[in-house]
């Protein structure tokens, strides 16, 4: 119980840090803390396999991907320095709206006891201490369900992953243009400016 409240504070603080940090690398660090706290929270819910998956997939794969992209986009120039971290003009009403919606949800949740609906049929797992074999949330229990009852969603997931791989290769596999667009655009702009200046001198 104490774990839940401590982890809630960590989760909310790291989430707020993630969306407010000025540099995207700091956001990644906030997200890392968020994912780690969430993995511990999963352990308290006896979801040991999902806790490990959370750490491996999110912290190990997705966050590293984010860091790679930040490094890739920061090479040479400083694209995060000036422009991109401002807030749009629509931010204030949007945040107000979100706060109202959040207040409504929290009010509705804390107002009365949230009744847990009756469990669906087919509940076969047994609760047990975290770490023992074949109890609720263990690898054996999870795998048995994944490869028998939920085999079709599992296969569809394979299809989704393949589409993702093909999409990423299509999006980023093409060779970059010979001259970087930015340099070409700067050249065009300079030519235009010179043409305008020449035009003005001709008129005079």
């Amino acid at each position: 119980m104490i774990a839940f409240w401590v982890l809630s504070v960590v989760l909310i603080a790291s989430a707020v840090w993630t969306i407010t940090a000025q540099k995207p690398v700091y956001s990644v660090v906030g997200l890392l803390a968020n994912f780690a706290a969430l993995a511990i929270l999963y352990l308290t819910l006896s979801a040991e396999f999902l806790a490990v998956i959370q750490l491996i997939v999110y912290s190990g794969a997705i966050l590293v991907l984010f860091v790679f992209v930040i490094a890739l986009l920061s090479s040479g120039v400083a694209p995060f320095a000036a422009g991109p971290n401002r807030m749009p003009k629509a931010a204030l009403p949007a945040v107000a709206l979100v706060c109202v919606a959040l207040g409504f949800v929290v009010f509705a949740v804390t107002r009365g006891e949230v009744a847990i609906p009756p469990p669906p049929a087919g509940s076969t797992s047994a609760l047990g201490p975290v770490g023992t074999a074949d109890v609720f949330g263990s690898v054996g229990d999870f795998g048995k369900a994944l490869f028998t009852t939920y085999l079709l969603p599992f296969e569809v997931t394979a299809l989704i992953l393949m589409v993702a791989v093909v999409g990423v290769v299509l999006l980023s596999g093409t060779a970059p243009a010979k001259a970087p667009t930015r340099r070409r655009a700067a050249g065009v702009r300079r030519e235009l400016r010179e043409a305008v200046v020449r035009d003005g001198e001709d008129r005079r």
Binding site: I19, Y42, L45, L50, V98, P120, I160, L171
Partner: protein, 106 residues
């Protein structure tokens, strides 16, 4: 054998999940950096996952675990494609800012 009860009442998990989801939503709304927006989307995925696992534990039914697993898989695919789009679009842009993208504007 541990008793068939959650560490705290289920309403607390719903509330925490809602707060995390709205923080993620706020991040998508107020930030114009596509990387931070993608991270906020991950926050929302995680809020949904937390709810799945809390109810799976309340019911001692592992369907919630399967769903959370599928959500994590889809989130990984989404992050890979989203980041590939970000790299493709902003490779030569002066600023990494979604308002700079006007390719589809007539």
């Amino acid at each position: 054998m541990i008793e068939n009860a959650l560490p705290v009442a289920i309403g607390n998990y719903v509330g925490l999940s809602a707060v995390l989801f709205f923080i993620g939503l706020t991040g998508v709304l107020i930030r114009r950096n596509p990387l931070v927006m993608l991270m906020s989307i991950e926050l929302m995925f995680n809020a949904a996952n937390l709810l799945f696992l809390a109810f799976a534990r309340a019911w001692v039914h592992n369907a919630g675990h399967i769903f959370a697993f599928l959500v994590i898989t889809v989130a990984a695919a989404e992050a890979a494609i989203g980041l590939a789009i970000v790299v493709a679009v902003f490779r030569d842009a002066p600023f990494v800012d979604v308002d700079e993208v006007r390719l589809l504007k007539g």
